[in-house]
Amino acid sequence: MKKLINSLVFVTLILTSTNSFSFNSDPKIFITELVNDAIKTLSDKNISKADKNKKIKTIAIENVDIDALGMYTLGAVRKTLDQDTLEKYKKLFSEYFLKSLTSRLSEYSENKFEVIGAEQKSEKYTIVKSKVVESSSQPEIKIDWRVYTKDPTKPLIRDLIFEGLSLAKTQKEEFASILNSNNNDINILFSKLEEFIKN
């Protein structure tokens, strides 16, 4: 678990902190361009923290399938909710997701990143395999990117699996725990999300 937790924040950051422009539609090149640009942006000392946060939000909205991620993390409970409740959840999840990313912004910009391959799992999904190269302060980290390719012209990131640990699955189990402890009352999850967004 040594390297695993170690990479959590870094991976999440490079996923989202990139400049705002369209990336290549080939999943492998898409990830390469996105991450290299993220590292460049993060290491740019001329950009203020507020501007970085703004860029993170913009790019996350453009390149991460936040709605699908939200639905995935909600699990089977989503099938029991009416449309209005689902819309409220989507809005809250998006705000929560973006805030949790920006709050994790810190000094993770001096790492060398390499895409080492890609494997098409189905028509819908391609797994892009990559690694953060070992440095004096950071062991090598293997990162897999689950890229949604149903629309081949616009790939979207749905999950990150670092050293075998899925961020989406972790989030899903966290939400499931909250729901299970509260008789699947979605309002309790809403209030926890709202509390996080407010603070």
């Binding site: 678990m1 040594k2 695993l4 937790i5 170690n6 990479s7 959590l8 924040v9 699908a68 639905m71 995935y72 949790s100 709050s103 994790r104 810190s106 494997e119 799992k121 819908k124 999904y125 797994i127 395999k129 004096s136 293997k142 897999d144 689950r146 749905r158 999950d159 699996i161 050293e163 075998g164 640990l165 899925s166 699955k169 972790t170 189990e173 966290e174 939400f175 499931a176 725990s177 909250i178 999850l189 926890k192 999300l193 996080f196």
Partner: protein
């Protein structure tokens, strides 16, 4: 420990693990108590472990790296028999070579020349070996100070002390190749391992605690996913995911 006690432990282990065979490891043994212990552990971390780890992080890099290498090298002694028990002969040979090279050329393991030679040294224990044999984790719970575990892994942790040569020469006070030690040696190395881990993950654990809606569930998920990954010895994406459920 006498023979009778050993038999009782083994019998109890087989019973508990059999009940966990193919069972979902996500099930909790006693969640309320575990959550209480988890809170206690967080307090212990804030009051004792984190401050020590912060101090450790201020030490020069060669000391920090040397400590990590040293504890990892001693951990190899437990890894080798577990590779053998899992029939992983090549990995057992690589781990053995890694231990010999690091202990000699690497000055008692403080340096890690084996890594530069491309020798793999992944950590294995009895919990993973039992998992590789097909035993399920059984239910999940949290132990005071020691943290997250499952029935299988906690039994494995006790069993580790019977096959780990380092545990044999320290807490079991046996002599191997004229080498002997004491309980203090054993717990010092285990303590150093924990501090090294905590120091290396300072920012990341802070971030998890800050950004989680349910920190207990987050650590549980990470622990269980990590255990599964170690048992299957895979470092790539999970195929058995449930993303396809989204379109239904």
């Amino acid at each position: 420990m006498n023979f009778k006690k050993t038999i009782i432990i083994i019998s109890a282990s087989i019973f508990f693990l059999s009940t966990g065979l193919k069972a979902e490891t996500e099930k909790e043994c006693f969640e309320k108590i575990s959550r209480g212990i988890f809170k206690f552990n967080q307090g212990f971390d804030r009051a004792i472990l984190k401050p020590i780890a912060k101090g450790f992080n201020k030490l020069p890099d060669p000391i920090k790296n040397g400590t990590g290498n040293f504890t990892s090298n001693i951990g190899t002694l437990l890894t080798v028999p577990n590779h053998i028990l899992q029939g992983q002969w090549k990995l057992a040979a690589e781990s053995s070579a890694s231990f010999l090279i690091n202990t000699t050329v690497g000055v008692l393991g403080f340096a890690n020349p084996a890594k530069k030679m491309g020798l793999k040294n992944q950590q294995e224990d009895i919990g993973q070996t039992l998992g590789a044999y097909g035993f399920g984790g059984g239910c999940y719970f949290v132990m005071p100070v020691l943290g997250p575990t499952t029935v299988r892994d906690s039994i494995g942790m006790i069993a580790d002390t019977f096959i780990d040569p380092f545990a044999q020469v320290t807490i079991r006070e046996k002599e191997l190749l004229s080498i002997s030690g004491s309980e203090i040696d054993y717990f010092s190395v285990k303590g150093a391992t924990v501090i090294d881990f905590r120091a290396e993950n300072m920012k990341n654990i802070d971030s998890i605690e800050k950004n989680s809606l349910d920190t207990y569930a987050t650590f549980k998920s990470l622990y269980l996913q990590n255990t599964e990954k170690k048992i299957s010895n895979t470092f790539s994406s999970q195929d058995g995911d449930d993303w396809d459920e989204l379109s239904k």
